[in-house]
Symmetry: D2
Subunit: 346 residues, 4 copies
């Protein structure tokens, strides 16, 4: 950590800073520049609040933290890439993983039809919301437990694994009875008590990026899950909020290489929520795989024009089926694979 | 609502849209322009998901919603400004209201000292966190119930009302036993189950703006609280996330007149979290009152250099005491008052 | 165009709006909703300032423009994709085009070495700045005309076409004597007099996206060039400014499909300026091609550690050479080609 | 400057960095932390490109610049606040300064009427555009020289000083023959050759903030003007681009105290362009004065409903006249004055 003192500040303000550094068991190295003094702080462990503490001291202009605040999510303590295995489905390995399905579980028929269709095309995990966070209190909020039961039936019929969102700590138990992977939505990415609760539940957790979360904050959110002993966190970029309105959100495709440089956790892309319009989804899906993502999460609906939520951004089944072989070729171009089932459109 | 069809789209795609409009009990007016058809949809009630539904139809380019999605928070159903009364403390009336106190309740001494100091200067409500959302799992997270007890003691000693944050639905009951006003933090602004829970609890709720929330989304979050029968919501602008890094967040001072044009709810400004640096807090506090805010929420600490959280943005007590008379003068210039206690610094 | 009146507004305020509509030769269709009146405006031509004009009228809440403001850049008046041909180099055709070279022309040796290296790897156009816009007045600003002469020599030696930036109208003539393509930098994307000047000069123009330009504003900037009779505009996405600081800018890869839905102009991606760090450049380059870009612009330097500008984001020559075969495979996966010279690394 | 090496990097990569530091005449201090080495660089002068240079070196993770890049705009070399005097009009002194007038000079009558009205209410400088940057090439672009002549006549009739925009270097001479202050618009804030040209012209320059400019970049743009020997630069915050769409731009009112902490230059607020809607302008004007701005620039039009540009955000004359006495009271509350003419509305 480096503490930059203001121009012209003297020993009367520098000494209390140095004293405080020593008090917490670290060492201070002073560099006297031509205009100001810089204090290098070395030693371990570096308490996470230390920068905040020194920022409040009189005479301090800036505190620059060098050690990252996340630990479990970083390469230093876990030099191998995280690979998550759910029976025959692998996440973070050589193959890229396709999660697909409707935004919401609306009915048994709709969900089962979508499940069979995405399975036939090459997806291995089924998505579908039984509990939906909605911007307005007057919108459709999901079927709840009956929705979870439909997902479980779809799993049984198709062999797909399932992922579904959990929105509040008290639902973790019931959702955990059905789902294979917990999904934490963008709005709950810093709902820390929920993160800890899914951390304790033990199953893999997909953590979608908050709407305007910095990448470091996102990894710290993952750290909340991991600090409960659950190493299986998947990060999913789904677009960030920017000034541009041509798309629902702005896909930050750079998040893929940035996260991979900082963390061993698998990284997914959700092109549906990023685009907000189905016409743009295939291009973003391809970009995600090309950038090195470990997988995609895509909204696919049997009848997007009549979906109860997110219809405008859902692919229909033929478009999805036609997209996967292209994704497989791109996967290969970047040294990955995307195994397609026999009989899939090629 | 207006549905804009794509250029050159014909009756085969227009008719299904019109049919759907009629099906939900509304009426469609077609305007044939030189290049495209526009469908005006009129009638009430206008279901909140209708725009999303039509956005998914083939041939639709754009859906423009005219009716606002929020109802209870808007002027149409509540043409008087909301005034909240807690014994002798009024929020949203002629007088502006000052909430002040430390970021976290760190100890009994620190909190009581802060309470007496902010009371003497002119605050009428004490802030202080007993449950703290922290970006990293390794930081100080508040004292919990013992912190709530300290706040209650401060209230008893000073006559100040208290406001403190609640982070999760299962804590609403215990926090409600102590606090006068629930605070919902920026990270939980779209934690809908928490919003409903504080909505049911009946006490006033201060809803801080999410880090990148649109004003309409913010009012819809308020709607979640109000839909539970709780009309007493206070909106608090605390800075939004932008590209600028000179301040911790960017205070969107325009939110004050914009909200006042859309809603009858009281609007506060939190200059401390917006600025992130104490040197900039007084200017932002003054700007907030001048823009017409109903009150301010300010971080004040007896010893900011050693605060456990947010020290860099906390005012010390003398600076706070010196600020209030200036705020009182600005309040007067904009047709409000800020009554100061006898003996306050003037 | 749709003019939305405020709730409860009556004929006294509606009539002047309708009168103004008729005055400019258009027709007004009134739709009386349950709460307000909406005025549909039809007819052609729709003056570009009309929305601004009506927005100022009393009683008007909102004006929604439906007809796009750009014309020459849109599909309506030019239903074929624009293909630009410079001798044997084609932009916007089936093959994707690689532009590469140093940020600045620093010396004859550096530029010639870079030119030969990027040519051998598969680039067909050489980039290099002779006039550099720099954030600080104290930084290296380019060699000027001697720099242009070095570029011309590189063209002669390698057969590469050249592209270089022009910063001010009075330099258009001299730069035009050397360059094959004018580059307009992000900072000058709305420097309208410069746009008109390069529009008149006749040679193709690459228009980089301004740091926070909306896509529609960008197409209107292209319209400035095209309105001077120059149809050969290339749009280059180079990252937009967002709150995220892990990369220099945020690559808006969605701009590729969005632009392609709105415009017939070729779209390029500049992963170097978007990333700001060379480690992230290859992933973004691949994402750009996968998303359907017509080409890439990449910074490549013989000795990035000692570049006078943008060293941190420049690829060295071996990394560039290794990247192209991967890009060629992705191009193929999305139905394009990237022809590599005999002897290029495969 | 501090150079942070990557974790585990050894002397083979550290030594070339140190050698380069010494080569440019500076000194390197090494701090060996538990995980990595940090290099403190001290000495003067610190070349502006040095951070960029080191960022490109192998093994370097991050370069943190401590010394600000701007010099002339900063307090270090100019410890008194800049006060600009134009006969009886003072900018940056105790009194706040009101600039008002129409967006564009549309006609002699419109401009003269506006001039007399704003003069009577308390403005001392008249604004009005003769050259207008427009997003679309098909919009009204100003009257040019005849517009400048109208402004000069208004000055003669009213005694107001005038400010008008210049858009390109070749117009600086003609605009300089008429105007008292050059205005550089937001889109041209980094048009460096234009900045240098107005720098040479000698008259005061108002530099509007670019749409997404960092405060440091803005001060560096001012530095371009000042480096030509022109010390009289006025900074004008006019809203930045964010995700929020309720206002045209987001007024960054924090820019006032931030700039004042970094620079001696006068700071203005333009609430009209920030708000984009006239209803919000008074609140933002008040906020600006309360935050400590040295003045305001306001759009005022005799008939906003029929303005050729920016009608929606222009105040009518009675609203403007009623606003000034309130601003005067706020100015007083923050230790400034706003002298109003005898007979102004109070």
């Amino acid at each position: 950590m480096i503490i930059v003192m203001k121009t012209g500040v003297g020993r009367d303000l520098i000494d209390p800073v140095v004293a405080q550094v020593e008090e917490v068991g670290l060492h201070a190295h002073l560099i006297d520049g031509s205009e100001r003094t810089i204090i290098g702080v070395v030693g371990l462990p570096m308490p996470p609040t230390l920068d905040e503490l020194f920022a409040g001291f009189e005479g301090v202009e800036q505190v620059v933290r060098i050690t990252k605040k996340f630990k479990l999510a970083g390469w230093d303590f876990h030099p191998q890439k995280t690979v998550i295995t759910l029976d025959d489905v692998t996440i973070g390995g050589d193959a890229v993983t396709i999660i697909a399905g409707p935004c919401s579980v609306e009915s048994r028929d709709q969900t089962l039809e979508a499940a069979h269709a995405v399975r036939a095309a090459g997806a291995t995990i089924l998505r579908g919301g039984a509990y939906k966070p909605r911007t307005s209190p007057y919108e459709f909020r999901g079927l709840g437990v009956p929705g979870l039961e439909i997902l479980a039936e779809a799993r049984e019929q198709t062999g797909l694994k399932i992922i579904t969102e959990v929105m509040t700590p008290s639902d973790v138990e019931v959702v955990g009875q059905y789902t294979d992977i917990f999904q934490i939505g963008a709005r709950n990415c810093q709902n820390y008590l929920l993160l800890e609760e899914v951390g304790k539940a033990g199953k893999p957790v997909m953590l979608k990026r908050g709407l305007s979360l910095l990448i470091e904050e996102w990894l710290l959110a993952a750290e909340y899950v991991m600090a409960q002993g659950n190493p299986n966190v998947i990060l999913c970029e789904r677009g960030i909020r920017t000034y541009e309105t041509a798309t629902r959100n702005t896909l930050d495709v750079s998040a893929v290489p940035v996260l991979q440089s900082l963390s061993h956790l698998p990284v997914f892309i959700d092109p549906s929520h990023a685009a907000g319009k189905r016409a743009f989804v295939p291009a973003l899906a391809k970009a995600g795989i090309a950038a090195g993502a470990d997988g995609l999460m895509l909204e696919v609906h049997p009848d997007p024009d009549h979906a109860l939520s997110d219809g405008a951004q859902s692919l229909d089944e033929p478009t999805f089926a036609a997209l996967l072989p292209q994704l497989a070729q791109i996967a290969q171009a970047v040294g990955r694979t995307l195994p397609l089932p026999t009989g899939a459109a090629v």
